[in-house]
Assembly symmetry: C2
Homo-oligomer: 146 residues x 2
């Protein structure tokens, strides 16, 4: 069980990897982000990225899968107020394997609700060749140890 | 057809609405964000939000659905370099109907690639009772009129 006190500023955690297939990319895109370069392989081939790329929201959701599994704990996670900056510097393509690294920047206990604190993290998502495909400056509310 | 020149700073656009059911929330959460308050109605009822709420990435994806349909054009959309700030001030609950409003803040033609420009927008997502559930400061690369 992990609580607010266990998120140590300065620490860096590798959360493992997640793969994404063309079928995954198309399914997500057709439901939520049906732009041609996400959802239509034929048009995508002639488009600005020379092939299908994942919706940035799909990449974010795949990152979340690893955060939920290996960074947050159901005993203490209280959700997130938001994101300070998110960048998609390189595209995610079918067959990519994405690794997620989290650096804990700051952990500040709440003054008004002393049973919790705010953890700020910098998250980097890279593909199998080392290109950074997403960076996120995230915030999470985490319950303190009872 | 809409091009860079058609995104006018100062204009405000209503993109319509999208509904989200409990089944939608659970399906997205179980795949990408299986925290109890998103994915398990029983545990969620006893949890910090008193019931199931949508993953913030699900809310973002639902917003994207309306952006793709009514704000971006396949003739000119060239993707996004990222997001400057994203906030989730109130939770999204089963049965909510979300409306999306976009305010165009800035449209700047690229110096290095004069066939395109960067459009900065402020996006507000509200539920059926007027609560703001998400705000996003977004950037989009848009092709200029040929």
């Amino acid at each position: 069980m992990r609580f607010f006190e266990d998120y140590a500023p300065g620490s860096v955690e590798e959360l493992g990897s997640v793969s994404v297939s063309e079928a995954d990319i198309l399914e997500f895109a057709r439901r939520y982000d049906p732009q041609d370069f996400h959802a239509d392989p034929g048009k995508a081939a002639a488009g600005p990225f020379g092939g299908v790329i994942a919706s940035g929201w799909h990449t974010a959701s795949l990152m979340m899968k690893l955060l939920a599994a290996r960074y947050l704990d159901p005993a203490s996670s209280l959700g997130s107020p938001g994101i300070d900056e998110l960048r998609w510097p390189s595209p995610v393509r079918p067959g990519d394997s994405l690794t997620v690294r989290v650096s804990i920047l700051e952990a500040r206990r709440s003054r008004t609700k002393p049973d919790r604190g705010l953890v700020k993290s910098h998250i980097e998502v890279r593909n199998q060749t080392g290109d950074t495909v997403m960076t996120v400056s995230a915030m999470n509310l985490i319950r303190c140890r009872p």
